[in-house]
Amino acid sequence: MKTTAKLFSVLFFLILIFSFTPDDDGDRLVGVWAPSNGKARIKVEKIGNKYYGKIVWLREPIDPVTQIPKVDKNNPDASMQNVPLKGYRLLKDFIYSGKNEWTEGTIYDPENGSTYSCLITMKDNNTLDIRGYIGLKALGRTDVWKRLEIKK
């Protein structure tokens, strides 16, 4: 009986450890974020074990030229050029890799239709460094995003 209790104790602590695996720690990314230019708000959510971010608000939702809601007109894929920007998923496939970093994902820039490799680093619970880069992390640019809270 004692042996069984010991076995379960070990199992319990193992489960306790695994229940705080990087995956759950990674959920701190979930929320609404504002890039430094203030032009958009991005909602990050978890789908399966990956993280995705979509545009949920635009400072200028209407295209000044066409006078209709902005669409992804710079997308190199012509079939995507009429997709509305609001709701567009521009952060894709991020995996929490520990040490406050989310990797393996990409970020899309609707201004020029380019997709970059991306590293997300959480500086503190309310601040993200978003680094878009080409191939090497040195060939990139970092933007600072701040966490937002929805007013009740």
Partner: protein, 367 residues
Amino acid sequence: MKRFTLLLFLFVGNQLFSQTDSTKKVEEEEDYSIYENVTSTDGQNKTFCNPKIFDLSPSRFISIAWDQQMPYDMELSQLFSYPKDSTNIVPYEKANANSTSGLRLFANIPVISSNKFLWQLGLNYWNMKYVFSEKITPTLDTSLIQQLQKNGLTTMGLHSTVYKPLNDKQFILMQVSADLSGNYTFSNIQPLKFTRYSASILWGKRPNDRKQWAIGLSRTYRVGELNFLPIILYNWTAPNRKWGTEILFPARVHVRKNFNARSLVMAGYELEGQSYRIGGIPLSVDKELEIRRGELRLRLEYQRQIWGFIWGTIQVGYRHNYSFNADYTQIGGSDFFRGFVGKQEYAMINKLGGAPYFNVGIHLVSP
């Protein structure tokens, strides 16, 4: 025992259900109006103005290009003749340059690149090979034309660019470069004391995503010899985002036509120049010869994405010679300032005919 089983169920169950829930959430219809009213949990995110505006031609990390000028005539005055002006020169050396061509390599790597500070370091290598027709006079091995034919002209340099946004509208832009230019080769690189330095500083504003302007001062060799010039930056994109300007006056002025986010054409001019120390010509013991090459390039350039972040450019235009004169400079390598009004006489006053040219390049462009 029951307690352990319960705890086990709670933890495992929590893991399983939390994943299922988050997947479901995505499928739900989103009410975007709830994101209108938000508050920052950590104070306002300070906004800094971006170094770019909409639809600018992409800046380049790495660039490889080939530049070629078509045939033109070259007439050089005799050394030590100190001609007063170019209208009275008696050509001493004459030749027809069948071609002037060379490789242009450029790399610009960000050291720090964030929304509040940008610092880039780079290097460049330009080489110009001169191929003359057989009719070169005189045939002395020490003539300037012979020296040009032998090694051509080479420039290697380091440069640094700092962009510092002060707030969401104002910025400061600084550039410094150090170039070693001359008729040297890799096996016989000229002494570093002949390095020529250029620098510029600008203060400007970016009132919106389609316009940025700045004013500043520059220490430059773009007209061939050392000069201090006021500079104006004016980058603008029309509301329809099909047209724009890319101006850094007087260095370059371009009108831009954007076909889409992946191709554009630019028309305008660029001033191009450098001061080249020429070795191999016997002079007095304390003097060096330095060619002040400055040229105006009227041009049309087509840029387009080839694949991903690889872009290609084709440039055609006309090269007008502004200066190919030569100065004596002190052997210590120090330079002097003549500007547009200085009275210092040239050691040689040289005339180069104009020539059509083309330039093709491939580039890794920046985000």
